[in-house]
Symmetry: C2
Subunit: 240 residues, 2 copies
DNA sequence: GCGAAATTAATGTCAGACATTTAAAGTTTC
DNA sequence: GAAACTTTAAATGTCTGACATTAATTTCGC
């Protein structure tokens, strides 16, 4: 594990990259302990603060975790779906907000992606995910539900639909895409009339899942996309 | 911008979170300059090394960039699709390798996701993306192409297909999913016979794009998925 | 007025110290 | 001998202060 003395990048960045490469290449496996900060400092011939900056970079990406105390140190972290998912949401959210992505483009991508679970969810969706969908639909029908709670329930509904595909990789990718849209969706406030139409579409989708009809799930999502887009258009036209 | 004195997390982590929240909330906008390290140290009542660790955490996520010199400092970075995409690939790749995700599961998710661009690519794919697909197909037919180059060309082919949807958000999500699979795909070495079948399917997909036939694109991808899965199965059975 | 040199303000790096945490080894007590 | 307590050691977390390096700005000389 060496760094290039000719590079003019920060030492801490170079060290972080060197360690990251070891992890990606599998030469440092999950739960392996890195040398102590003092040892790393000696190995790379830098000071301890510099090593620490490098380790913090890796910690920010959940590649390592640190533990204090006698048997402590930095350990290669087993990246969980939950952590990866949280990171992806942060990144995607910022990406959308910083690049002036139009609601239309983001919405199109979101539903296109979500439709990709239709086939598998129709085949595999179990009673628990279906029950979760029904529960969220019921919640969405409550008249005194706040806009924030309605949006959160909406996310939970789609999450259950996606999880019905019983493929964790797909869930990870789709849940990230759906949730990254949430801040944009929150800009829309729903009238009672809008909510009723959305809930109706949710019921249609849940019904299609129960009937194990992939095409109907897909069509339901397409209808929901059209509804969302037209809602957004009417709001933006009003100069909101 | 304050931190909770009761929290027992690392100071640098708390500070990083505080600044990240400011960015996400839009109170620190793109290209805004953060206070200098010395000023931040004073504001948060910590030392400069601690502030630096926090800043490195943010830099690791491409949330800030730093510049040396008189007018230097840390600036809120405009997260580009390219950066977000690189990060997503690293995360997804590690996620797959660390969680014993089976080839079957990952492959299923990858193709399910990719099919989500079929409709849009059929509608919008321009001559440049189509030409890119044709060029990769031609390259894949060269008999003296190395396995690595064949895989890279395969990725480029799918990348062009996805870009044909003309939706940057979709490209970002899908390209990440496709490329994260690459290390797993690289475990498979292709015989000449395998290559010929894959190239034939690529031609079929390219033809469907040119004919603007979304269903055919989708079917072509499904056939490619079946081919890939059976190839993987036969390899793993041989005890590889 | 223009070019070169000095200034300055920032990040990058280092050295050494102390604080805190945690597990394990050692010691005492019953 | 076992349980409870104490000590020790090794690690990360944090601080202080210094110096190095970079790059824009200002000043000075001509």
């Amino acid at each position: 594990m060496k760094i290039d003395p000719k590079s003019d990048a920060d030492l801490s960045a170079q060290i972080a990259t060197a360690i990251r490469d070891e992890i990606i290449a599998g030469r440092l496996i999950v739960d392996a302990r890195l040398p102590s900060e003092a040892e790393l400092a000696e190995q790379f011939d830098v000071s301890r603060p510099t090593v620490r900056e490098a380790l913090k970079r890796l910690a920010a990406q959940s590649l390592i975790r640190t533990q204090r105390g006698a048997t402590g140190g930095a350990f290669v972290n087993k990246l969980s779906f939950t952590e990866a998912y949280a990171q992806q949401i942060t990144t995607s959210t910022l990406l959308l907000s910083m690049n002036d992505v139009s609601f239309e483009t983001a919405c199109e991508a979101r539903f296109a992606l979500e439709r990709s679970c239709a086939e598998l969810s129709a085949q595999r969706c179990g009673p628990d995910d279906l029950a979760a969908m029904r529960a969220e639909i019921h919640r969405q029908g409550q008249p005194n539900l706040s806009d924030e709670a309605f949006c959160a329930s909406d996310v939970a509904f789609h999450r259950a639909l996606v999880d019905g595909a019983e493929n964790p990789v797909l869930s990870y990718q789709l849940a990230g895409a759906v949730e990254a849209m949430q801040p944009l969706m929150n800009m829309i406030t729903f009238s009672a009339r809008d909510r009723a139409r959305i809930v109706a579409l949710h019921m249609r989708i849940a019904g299609a899942v129960e009937a194990r009809n992939a095409a109907d799930i897909s069509d339901g999502l397409t209808a929901l996309e059209a509804e969302t887009q037209s809602l957004a258009r009417s709001l933006f036209k009003k100069g909101n």
